[in-house]
């Protein structure tokens, strides 16, 4: 070899070597740690398979499992059907038909998302209960001989959850219809089909991937629900887990039930993933909404108004009315404490979760190997896992850790460690559940910072903390605000994790609503509920602004 060949190689500046590789191990460690933490409940549930459970399974099989399974499947079937019908029909009308109030309903029909199921549930229960206005009116008209057609726990749970969850189907399906809905009908019409046949034969099959994705999301939320079914005393897996823990103090059976629930959730998750990637059909042509006969347009307006009224206006109005009426009686220093607890918990969770999400997104960006990306997906899987499962999945190992420390390190001292009664379990469970909520906006914002920007900054001698402060943070700031806001609101509304793992004295507004509604004190529950609903409106308005 001649010198000529060597000199340029040696002159090659080090900077041109792949710089990103240098910190691989540090980033990898961060990713492993977060993924492990977030998936700990799943591992705990899985490990419980291999522990000796005695006759717990036999007991579960005989007394709990059949009913929980039947009720849960009934709930899922009912909610899937109603959310599909409501979501698809509303999406079709709003996306493709011209009727009075169309653009208003475009965002207003998302409003029911703001209300947690346990809040809508108690408002509806108050209307339907024996002393409520409907039944009173019924008795005045028909006397007591004719029984009021009650919904029962199953019906009430299905109705409530459907009204809260149809916006998922509506939101996702509307996008499909807006891009191809009218064109599909036109193709069918040009082939001699009526518009109705066109909807059935073209638009509906084309939108199927979106519909299935939306319904699967609704199913996942429905499987995770605890507050609504508990309110209506309808035993599903989440309430069975709660009762095993609180009623029977059997962590083992709670874990076994969690495992079955996780299997159900994963099936819904796979369904959603499978259909999300399905073939897409979009048209760039201008698509004008159908102009309808005034009578039909009026009917559609009426339909949309009716859904909005029952799912949001009526219950929100009632809650507002009751909270105003009970304000002077109910409001006292205790509420300041509840509000302070709620804000503290939500604030801590938002800070912790956003930091973890940012760390995860950064680490994967800098060490984007296949395994790391897979780990990042595992870390954000928690949004699909019901809160009851997460609560128990963190409580068990943290309690075990404390016991181990007490038995070994603190064996000779009179100190006792009880990590499980501190804030660690609740915050970890929040993190597992809402990491995806924060990770989504942060990750997509990070994608917008091209590596060229970083290289350019390096070229100007800016690096390290200054790079972070002057380049990354300003670009990421809106996403960080969004992520923190979303997590904050979600934690405010959260019920099962908070209920099951909050330290003593940490009652929140949601817990208060739950306690009052368990006692049937609908009117008194309105005051703590109103704050939750108002907070819940924030992300809905953000979402609807982004979509319109």
């Amino acid at each position: 070899m001649s010198d000529i060949a060597i000199i340029p190689a040696r002159a090659l500046p080090r900077k041109h070597l792949p710089r990103r590789g240098e910190d691989h191990r540090g980033f990898g460690l961060i990713i492993w740690l977060i993924a492990l933490l977030a998936s700990a409940p799943l591992l705990v549930a899985l490990l419980s398979l291999f522990t000796d459970t005695g006759d717990i399974w036999a007991h579960l099989f005989e007394f709990v499992l059949p009913q929980a399974l039947f009720n849960t499947l009934l709930l899922v079937a009912g909610v899937a059907t109603i959310t599909a019908v409501l979501g698809v029909s509303l999406a079709w009308f709003v996306a493709t038909c011209e009727f009075p109030g169309r653009s208003f309903f475009g965002w207003a029909l998302l409003l029911p998302m703001a209300m947690p199921g346990y809040v809508l549930g108690f408002a509806l229960a108050a209307i339907f209960e024996y002393t409520g206005p409907l039944q009173t009116g019924w008795r005045e008209m028909f006397g007591t001989a004719l029984a009021f057609p009650g919904l029962g726990g199953a019906g009430a749970s299905i109705l409530t959850l459907s009204l809260v969850l149809y916006p998922y189907v509506f939101l996702i399906t509307r996008q499909a219809f807006a891009t191809q809905g009218v064109r599909g009908v036109e193709v069918a019409q040009s082939c001699g089909y009526s518009p109705m046949q066109g909807f059935r034969k073209v638009s509906l099959p084309l939108a199927r991937p979106w519909i299935v994705a939306g319904v699967s999301l609704a199913i996942m939320e429905c499987l995770a629900d605890f507050g609504t079914v508990q309110l209506f005393n309808f035993t599903t897996f989440t309430t069975a887990i709660y009762r095993s823990w609180y009623g029977l103090f059997s962590l083992q059976s709670a874990l076994q039930l969690s495992l079955v629930l996780v299997v159900l959730v994963m099936s819904a998750l796979l369904l959603e993933k499978r259909f999300r990637g399905a073939s897409r059909y979009t048209s760039n042509a201008m698509l004008n909404p159908h102009r309808l006969q005034p009578r039909r347009a009026g009917l559609i307006s009426f339909y949309c108004s009716a859904v909005l009224f029952i799912a949001f206006v009526l219950p929100a109005g009632l809650i507002l009315y009751w909270s105003v009426r009970t304000f002077s009686l109910e409001f006292d220093a205790h509420y300041w404490q509840l509000a302070a607890n709620t804000l503290m918990l939500a604030g801590m969770a938002a800070l912790l979760i956003c930091s973890a999400a940012l760390l995860l997104a950064f680490a994967v960006r800098n060490a984007p190997s296949r395994i790391n990306r897979l780990l990042s997906r595992i870390a954000t899987l928690g949004y699909a896992i019901p809160g009851t499962v997460l609560a128990i999945g963190f409580f068990v190992p943290v309690a075990a850790l404390s016991r181990w420390v007490n038995a070994t390190l603190l064996a000779d001292s009179d100190k006792v460690l009880a990590l499980q009664s501190g804030l660690s379990v609740i915050l970890l469970a929040y993190m597992a559940r809402y990491l995806a909520v924060a990770h989504g906006p942060l990750d997509s914002a990070l994608l917008r910072i091209s590596p060229n920007i970083e290289d350019a900054a390096h070229g100007m001698g800016v690096s390290g903390a200054r790079l972070l402060a002057n380049v990354h943070l300003p670009i990421l700031r809106p996403a960080i605000v969004t992520a923190a806001l979303l997590v904050f609101v979600d934690v405010m509304k959260e019920l099962p994790i908070t209920l099951m793992t909050r330290p003593f004295g940490w009652d929140t507004l949601a817990v208060r609503v739950f306690q009052l509604t368990t006692e049937g004190e609908w009117h008194r529950a309105a005051l703590p509920a109103i704050a939750i609903v108002v907070a819940g409106l924030v992300p809905v308005l953000v979402l609807s602004r982004r979509n319109n």
Binding site: E186, V187, Q189, S190, C191, G192, P195, V202, R280, A285
Partner: protein, 350 residues
């Protein structure tokens, strides 16, 4: 077969179609030419019945399809439509897409007929493929087969070749013409490229901002354009100032141009004269000389841009074995049997 009488349409305030009238005889292929946004698509959608008219009427063989009082729904019009984006159904194979339009036949017949039509567009081998497994040209053929299979009384095609490359659109244009002639189908096609239109259509119209400026044969549009916009839209050319001498001659800086004028003007009127590339003929023996400014190779001919001694810039279409370098002076003469002239001031135009 198809008659439009003073058809108007608007979406909001802005009129999209303004009093459009045209007649298309049975078995003929008509073409609406115009820049994008001129209202071509809207015109087709009105005829198909996807849009309603706010004035005028659309008839097929004297049956009123659309008027202010009457609107036959699209599915009852028996009009086939080929959408610009083909609009094939992604969940159906090519054959199923065609059979989709044959739902009035029993399923077995529909399948056979669909194969028959796929065969006619040369796609019988690919009948089992899904749209995303087909090329753009193949998708277009499926779309055409689907629109033609129910044997509609009228076929509408919206920019059928806009997404295809040049060779493909020329071949497909010829095939479509043959197929339509074989089936005796009347068709109306919206396009923006005049060469595509001339290759396909019997009757051509130019639409600008919702107004149909002219409706006639391709020859008529090219050689007797109704106004400057049509003249510019249907082909290249340069405008020269001139002064009318007599009813068949115009004085310009290139001397007197002789030929039949498409519009009569009194002597001494100031006019603009259109010279098409084929009016300017390369002739080595001609005393008139011009310098080659630039040239474009078009295969069988060159398009030369020439500057005359007087400074006028001309376009000339020259057989491609006459290869002259840029900068060289070459001889030319004008060969005009009829002259396209328009008055210089708009006021004098009528």
């Amino acid at each position: 077969m198809l008659q439009l009488a003073e058809v108007s349409h608007r979406y909001t305030e802005q009129p999209v179609l303004n009093s459009v009238s045209l007649t298309l005889e049975a078995g003929r292929i008509g073409c609406i030419l115009g820049p994008s946004g001129c209202g071509k698509t809207t015109l087709l959608r009105c005829i198909a019945g996807f849009e309603s008219v706010i004035a005028g009427d659309i008839r097929a063989d004297d049956l009123v399809l659309s008027s202010i009082d009457q609107h036959i729904p699209p599915e009852q019009r028996h009009i086939g439509m080929v959408f610009q984006d083909y609009a094939l159904l992604p969940h159906l194979t090519a054959q199923q897409n065609v059979a989709f339009a044959l739902h009035r036949h029993p399923a077995r017949d529909a399948r056979l007929l669909a194969m028959n039509f796929l065969n006619r567009v040369g796609l019988s081998d690919l009948a089992g493929r899904f749209p995303h497994e087909l090329s753009g040209g193949q998708q277009q053929r499926v779309a055409i087969a689907r629109a033609l299979a129910p044997e509609p009384q009228l076929l509408l095609m919206d920019e059928p070749f806009s997404n295809l490359d040049v060779t493909l659109r020329q071949n497909l244009g010829q095939e479509v013409r043959q197929l339509l002639n074989q089936l005796g189908t009347t068709a109306l096609v919206a396009m923006h490229d005049h060469q595509d239109a001339f290759g396909l259509a019997d009757d051509v119209g130019v639409l600008r901002a919702g107004e149909l400026l002219q409706w006639g044969s391709a020859y008529e549009l090219y050689h007797r354009p109704a106004d400057r916009f049509v003249a510019n839209f249907v082909g290249k050319g340069v405008w020269l100032e001139g002064r009318v001498r007599s009813e068949n001659s115009v004085e310009t800086e290139l001397g007197t141009i002789v030929g039949r004028m498409i519009t009569r003007f009194p002597a001494d009127t100031r006019v603009d004269v259109l010279l098409r590339p084929d009016d300017v003929v390369h002739d080595d023996d001609s005393p008139m000389q011009a310098k080659v400014l630039s040239k474009q190779f078009k295969g069988s001919e060159f398009l030369y841009e020439l500057r005359t001694l007087s400074g006028a810039v001309l376009l000339s279409s020259v057989p491609s074995h006459h290869n002259h370098p840029v900068g060289q002076s070459i001889g030319f003469r004008l060969e005009t049997d009829h002259i396209v002239v328009f008055a210089q001031t708009p006021a004098a135009q009528d």
